[in-house]
Symmetry: C2
Subunit: 361 residues, 2 copies
């Protein structure tokens, strides 16, 4: 979550509440039940607030397209297929990814509170938005929260040139005493797909090492990566800097959220605007009180984080912990508003106009 | 585990059984109980067999030194401090890391078999050897196995120059139908510390991107990294290629195996040849039958892996899955013997001579 894109003059700022209402209005106008619309809006707002531009306002268009194409079931019958005191498996019935994910993490949280541990998988789902949303739900309940999901195949395995694995993000959160929570929310590829789209949108070359062209060679053209080329796993090309580790982590997410859930693995995951995209997710909540009193855990977390933050940084640099920049960005944006890039603003206002919702101005 | 160093003429090969006996003889000669010595030997052999040279024979010297310095408790009173149906916390009483880790993973396995899930932490331990050993124990029982450990602080966080985080490895294994198991066994740094030692031993420069010098600049001198510099987290220097992700993953391992276990985090972990090194570990076993019949899971694993293996590779390259090369190397080495680098052979034979054990010849 550290990779940032400059906020320049071509942004317009809106309050969190205004944006949230805008998202809910658009989704309900498209027949999404209000309760579900609110969860999707929450997810977009968390991304908008924390500076994860790739998963905020710019995502709305995709969800709207999927709904308009009838690729998403807006009245899903979410069923519990398997359940024990510590786990469950949900069938999302091809509904939006966020509501079923919210329900699944809620179940994991309840199980962790009662039985120390909860692990809830979801199949037949769709794009669930920003993974950190669900991990933070667990953190809000003073638990350790882990969320992950399969994605469309956009990444190539080590030594490959074909897109057959996912960006497969994983988010891990934990509470810290007196400080914003720890939150590592990362694609297992070098960067998330949204970043490539962002660079394409801004007509900027991508840094060397993010993706390869159709011949498997490093390219700086985001269009080439998004078309015939492929994204690279964390660690980059080949094995020398650990590309096989990012590739392996992507498969771990596939195993837990795709194979084990009876969904499918990233190779066969379809875009959310296609029917049966069959995205799979896994949500885990761990009750720290299994191991020590909560307050002790949070104090120890603080000590660890402070040990690292106090260590020597390179000149002109500062050491951040995962989740810190996002929390700071959110604090600022709650005060001065969330910046929406002008091209994205045009897009979402076009949607508003089409569905008869008040535009953002 | 894909990063390989060439096997050249300066290696001598020994059978697995001969090496195992050699390790057990040396350890028992140093008063390690035979049962514990066997577990340590198993761990070294797994590394030797699978081609993880950094964690095989070259490690023996370290364990011997720790024992000779009385830094390790050879008659630990391993206590169960907390326990439920799905978790436990063990106090390793400053014993060798391998025996308590073996016991902890055994407990996690038993819990997963009975209650679908097992999570067992260990504190007051020492270096536990190759992480994959424990994950493979779970895989042998047809479970998903996860193992991780804190390590000494040898890595610098993103934008830092001080060694304050660990190489903190994590190993995740899962069974596959008719094929060697999936096993991702990775340091969360670009490479494991053993790799730097290997390059130093061989007087070879390290690749650019593995570590930094005392000023936080990229260096190719392994001595500089091991002395005043620092190793880099997976993703490398800065944030542009995801160094903050490797840094975050290292902290996740610290949280689960250091903070939550009531051990300590990597910043304060001492070398195994010092007293109270207080290494912490976490072992997790997941029963796939919580979600689907075992045979179905294994078949699905095979389908996923084959989908990836069959995808297009760069010319002259082949796509491997995590654990495949290690299994193939083991198969070969079981037939033709395990290669021991001549300098390592000298070292371990010196130990043999000193403790009155038959040398390797």
């Amino acid at each position: 979550m550290f990779e940032k894109v400059e906020v320049d003059e071509s942004y317009v700022r809106f309050s969190k509440d205004r944006l949230h209402r805008f998202y809910v209005d658009i989704l309900t106008a498209l027949s999404v039940p209000e309760e579900d619309a609110r969860i999707v809006a929450d997810n977009l707002i968390i991304a908008d607030l924390r500076g994860v531009e790739s998963h905020g306002a710019q995502r709305l268009k995709r969800y709207v397209k999927a709904i308009e194409k009838n690729a998403v079931n807006l009245r899903p019958n979410i069923r519990i297929e398997r359940e024990s005191k510590v786990h469950a498996l949900l069938d999302g019935d091809e509904g939006l990814g966020q509501p079923v994910s919210y329900k699944a993490m809620k179940m994991a949280i309840d199980k962790a509170k009662e039985n120390l541990f909860g692990m809830v998988g979801v199949r037949n789902s769709n794009h669930f938005g920003i993974a950190g949303h669900y991990s933070l739900m667990a953190v809000d309940e003073e638990l350790i929260g882990i969320s992950m999901t399969t994605t469309r195949p956009l990444v190539t395995p080590t030594w490959g040139i074909e897109k057959v694995i996912g960006t497969n993000p994983i988010a891990i959160g934990a509470p810290i005493e007196d400080m914003p929570p720890f939150l590592l929310d990362m694609a297992t590829s070098v960067v998330s797909t949204g970043k490539f789209e962002l660079y394409r949108r801004k007509d900027k070359p991508i840094p060397e090492g993010w993706g390869v062209d159709r011949y498997g060679e490093i390219t700086t053209d985001p269009n080439e990566v998004l078309s015939e080329g492929a994204e690279l796993p964390l660690g980059g090309i080949g094995e020398i800097l650990g590309g096989h580790k990012g590739y392996g982590l992507s498969l771990v997410v596939d195993i837990l959220s795709g194979v084990l859930t009876n969904a499918t693995w990233s190779k066969w995951v379809k875009n959310t605007d296609e029917k049966n995209s069959n995205v799979g997710h896994m949500f885990i909540a761990i009750n720290v009180e299994a191991f020590m009193p909560l307050e002790e855990f949070k104090r120890r977390m603080k000590e660890m984080i402070m040990d690292i933050k106090k260590s020597k940084a390179k000149e002109g640099k500062k050491i951040w912990y995962p989740g810190e920049k996002g929390a700071l960005t959110a604090e600022t944006r709650l005060k001065i508003g969330i910046p929406i890039y002008h091209k994205v603003l045009e897009e979402i206002n076009e949607i508003a106009e089409k569905v008869g919702v008040e535009k953002l101005e």
